[in-house]
Symmetry: C2
Subunit: 161 residues, 2 copies
């Protein structure tokens, strides 16, 4: 299975105010007030039906400006190398990004969202609703993140925003 190829095609494109990777907030929680538009291509517009009644959605996208893959990297919030699967950094074996953003409204095939931590021009792969029934989990351990205090996380997470 190692060499199997799985091929996806963009279903849309993400438009944001972020054009420089180093100045882009690292997560939606550090990107409050970063508004933007998610454009879904016309052929997929019917799939957006009923989505406007959700307050939060997952955006799954392709990190098309990801740095080279490294299996150990320093996370944005801490100066200690960690396994790539224990962090959310973009230089991953498969460059898949995941963000939960706030959905403000939908006009046709354009989603207006808040909390965008995604670079302008990023290809969109999927949208899923984020819901109280499915997505709120009783987290007991947050690994290395438990050692990062709130103030440090806010400062480093926003990256100057």
């Amino acid at each position: 299975m190692n060499n199997q190829q799985i091929v996806y095609r963009p279903i849309g494109i993400i438009h944001s105010e972020h054009t420089i990777a180093e100045k882009t907030p690292i997560q939606p929680v550090y990107a409050r007030g970063c508004k933007g538009r998610v454009e879904v291509f016309e052929e997929f517009q019917d799939g957006l039906c009923d989505l406007d009644e959700f307050s939060h959605i997952y955006l799954i996208y392709h990190f098309n400006q990801a740095p080279p893959v490294k299996l150990k990297v320093k996370p944005f919030l801490q100066d200690v190398e960690r396994g790539i699967f224990a962090v959310r950094a973009p230089g991953r074996p498969n460059s898949i990004g995941l963000s939960v953003v706030e959905l403000i409204r939908i006009e046709g095939r354009i989603l207006y969202v808040d909390g965008l931590d995604i670079l302008d021009g990023t290809p969109l792969l999927d949208i899923k609703p984020y819901t109280a029934k499915f997505d709120l989990h009783n987290v007991k351990k947050n690994g290395w993140q438990d050692d990062v205090d709130h103030k440090t996380a806010e400062k480093r997470g926003k990256r100057g925003y």
Copy 2:
């Protein structure tokens, strides 16, 4: 960008007790007690470093047994057609699955997890930590799911499990 191809390769394979799609719980919340193993291929093992200190992880995977794509489908929990991006069903334009499972322990390159709602043999694309800082959102509206009562959701979500 519509015709751009994005190519990923499996980083591992998911081993579960679920071999029949119609009898597989639809979400981890309805799969408590469904234990299984996530095997990560040897070449990616170093990326697992530090992951064992998280209680919950995202598995991102390829629905390799997905039904044909439909832009409107009835969700598992309700008999009303909805847009595919307003549900979590597998027959999506890009067949990407997302589950938050409980991480019990890691031995070498094998992750032992609970809450598996994934078919046996499913190709794994990515692992990310699920954390209190990044992933707990203040959900205000859950769309059509707000109309599904808890008892109905439990019954239909477990699919006989």
